[in-house]
Symmetry: T
Subunit: 72 residues, 12 copies
C-alpha cells in the first residue's frame, strides 16, 4: 500500500469513562465508529478528569485525534 497517493483526515474527539484511561479511549472509538469512516489510528492529546464530591476520580476524559482514510 505504501507509495500510493492517498489522503487521511484527522478529527479530534473526547472520550469519557468512569473506569480508566483505556476505557475512555474505547468509549471514544465505539461512538466515533457510528459517524466516521473506518478509523486507522489514534493519538492521545490530553488526559484529564472530573473529581467527585468524595474526592475520587469521577471520570476520565481523554482527548484523542483519530485518523481515517478518505476514499474518493
Amino acid at each position: 500500500m505504501y507509495g500510493k497517493d492517498r489522503i487521511y483526515k484527522k478529527v479530534e474527539i473526547i472520550g469519557v469513562s468512569a473506569v480508566s484511561i483505556e476505557g475512555a479511549i474505547e468509549t471514544a472509538l465505539v461512538r466515533a465508529r457510528n459517524s466516521l469512516d473506518k478509523l486507522s489510528w489514534f493519538e492521545v492529546q490530553e488526559i484529564r478528569g472530573h473529581i467527585g464530591a468524595d474526592g475520587k476520580v469521577a471520570e476520565y476524559q481523554v482527548v484523542l485525534k483519530v485518523s481515517f482514510e478518505l476514499k474518493d
Copy 2:
C-alpha cells in the same frame, strides 16, 4: 452527568470581527451554531489580525476550538 460514558467532538474555527477579540469569538459562535450541534465550550488557540492602510487594526481574527457532545 459526570461518570456517564459519552463523547465530544472538537472543531477548529476562526471568527473575524472589526470590533474586538470578544467580538471575533461571538462571530465564530453565532455562525458555528448554524452547522454544528449544541456547543459546550471553546478554547482560544491564537489571536491575530489584519492591519489597515491607516495602520490601525482592520479586524481581529481569533482561532478557536469549540466542543460539543455527540449524541447517538
Copy 3:
C-alpha cells in the same frame, strides 16, 4: 474584504506521495477539494514518511491544516 464579520473552518488532513513533500501537499489538496468548500490556505503541521525495504523513502506523509470560509 477585511473588517467584515465572517468565519473560517480548519480541518486536519494528511497527504501522501512517493515523489516529494510538495507532491504530498498537492495530493492532499486535490482530494480535499472534492469534499470541502473552496480552500483558502494551508499550514504544514508535520512531515514524516515511510522507509521501503531498500532503505529509501517509500512515501512522504505531510500533515496539513487547510482552512476555508464557511458561508451562511
Copy 4:
C-alpha cells in the same frame, strides 16, 4: 531595587466573568488579593469559556499566573 537578592512566587489561578476577557482577569485579581501577598504582575496562560444554551458566550475563563514577592 534591581540587583538585590530576593524571591518571588508564582501561583496559577482562573478568573471567570460573563462580560469580557479583561473582566475575568480583574475578577481573578480581586479575589486573589484576599488570600495572597501584594501581587506584582500576571501572565495569561489560556483563554477559554463556556457557551450558553443560546449559543453565546456564557462566561470567559482566563487562566493566569500571578507573581508576588516573598518577604522574609
Copy 5:
C-alpha cells in the same frame, strides 16, 4: 452556575503508585484532599516512573494539575 464571577486555583502535585497510572492519580487525589479545598478537576502533565533492579516498573509517577474553587 455559569456566568457568575468566581475564581479557581490550580496546584501541581505528583502522585506515586506501584500499580498503574490510574493508581498514581488516585493516590495524588486522596492525599491532596487533606490539605486542599474541594477539588474539581485534574489535568495530567507528565507520566514517568522508576525502573526497579528487575527491569520492571517499580512505580508510576504522574504529575497532575488539580483545580478547586476559592471561596471568599
Copy 6:
C-alpha cells in the same frame, strides 16, 4: 498578488495600555507605524500585565509579532 515572489519581515514588539488588551495592540501599532514600513498583519504572542498597589490591573502588556512586506 498571490504567486509572485516576495518577502516579508516579522518584528516583535510590546504594546502597553492601561485600558484593555485591544488598547495595548493599538498602542503598539500606532508607534510601530513611525519606524517601520506599512504593516500587514499581527500575531499575539503573549498577554501579561502589571498589577497596581490597589490590586487592580495597572496596565496590559501585549507581545506582538507584526509583519510587513520588504520592497526592493
Copy 7:
C-alpha cells in the same frame, strides 16, 4: 550518591501491547533490558495506538524515553 560526577544516557523506544498503556510500557522495558545497561527511569513521550477492523483498539503504542547510568 548525590553530588558525585556522573553521566546518564537517554534513549527513545516504543513499546507495543494489545492490553493496556501500562502493558506497552512493560513490553518496552522487558526488551530494552536485553540490549541496554541497567535502566533507571522512564518518561512517557506519546501515547497512540492502532484501531482494528472491529473499530476497537488493536494495540497501544507508547513512546518512552528510558535513562540509565553510563559506567566508565
Copy 8:
C-alpha cells in the same frame, strides 16, 4: 523507598541574584526553605535578567519549579 504510595507538590518560584545563574538558584532555595517543607529537587523553567544603565547584567532572574514530599 520506590514503590510506596506518596505525593509531592511542585511550586514555582523566582530567585534573583546579581552574581550568576547559580546564585539566583541558591537565593531561591535559601528563602523557599523558610516557608516550605524539605525540598527535594528543582527544575529551571526560564532564565532572564535585568540590564542596568551601564548596559551590563544588573541581575539574573531564574524561574524554578521546586518539589517536596507532602507528609500526612
Copy 9:
C-alpha cells in the same frame, strides 16, 4: 574561529514562491541579502501556503530565521 567572543543577530523573514518550498527559501535569501549583512545560516519556522481558485497551491510561504554576525 571558535572560542572568540562575538555576537550574531537573528531576524525573521517570510519568503514566497509559486514553485516549491526550496524556492521560497531562496527568494527570502536573495532579497534579505540586499538589506542585511552577510548571512550565515537559516532555520525554517513554519511552512504554509495559499490555495488558488483551481484548488492547487498558488504559492508556498516559508517563515525563516536567518542569522548573521554583527561586526563592530
Copy 10:
C-alpha cells in the same frame, strides 16, 4: 502484525544535501542503513541550512527521527 508485543527504537540523525530538503532526507537514510537495523519510518524535526558566500543556500540540514524494530 498489529496486536503483537514488540519494541521500536528511535534515533535522531541529521542529513545534509546541497540539492533539496528531500535530498537531505535521502542522504540521512542511505548512511543510517549502514549502521542501523532495517528502518521503518522517519519524522522531520527541524529544517535548517547554511548560506554560502554568494548568499544562496549552500546546503540543507534536516534533523530526523528514524525508527526501526528491535528484534530479540
Copy 11:
C-alpha cells in the same frame, strides 16, 4: 511609569564566550549596546556550544531576546 502608553521592541541575538554561560550573555549585551537603544531586560532562549578537538567546551553560544523601549 506603569500605566503609560508605550512600546518596546524585542530583538534576538546570540552571544558567544569561551568562558561561561554568563560570559556569553555579557558578550551579547556589550556589543548590542553599540547598535541598539538602552536595553531593559533579556530572556534566554537557548544554550548551546561548540566542542573542541580535545572534547571540551570550546565556546558557549547563548541565544537571547533583548528588549528596549522605542522612544518617539
Copy 12:
C-alpha cells in the same frame, strides 16, 4: 566542508556536577568522549538539580543533546 553530503547523529545525555551548570556540561562531555566519536556541538535541553538536606543545591543535572558526524 559545507555542501558535501554527510550525516550527523544526536544523542541525549545527562551530566551531573556538584559545582555548576558549566561543570555538569563538562562532566557529560568528558565521559561521552569515551564511548562516542568526536563530538561537534551540544544543545542544553533541561537544567535541573537535587536539593540536599541543608536546603542547598546538592548537584546540577543538565540534559544535553550532543552531535557528532557519522563516518562511513
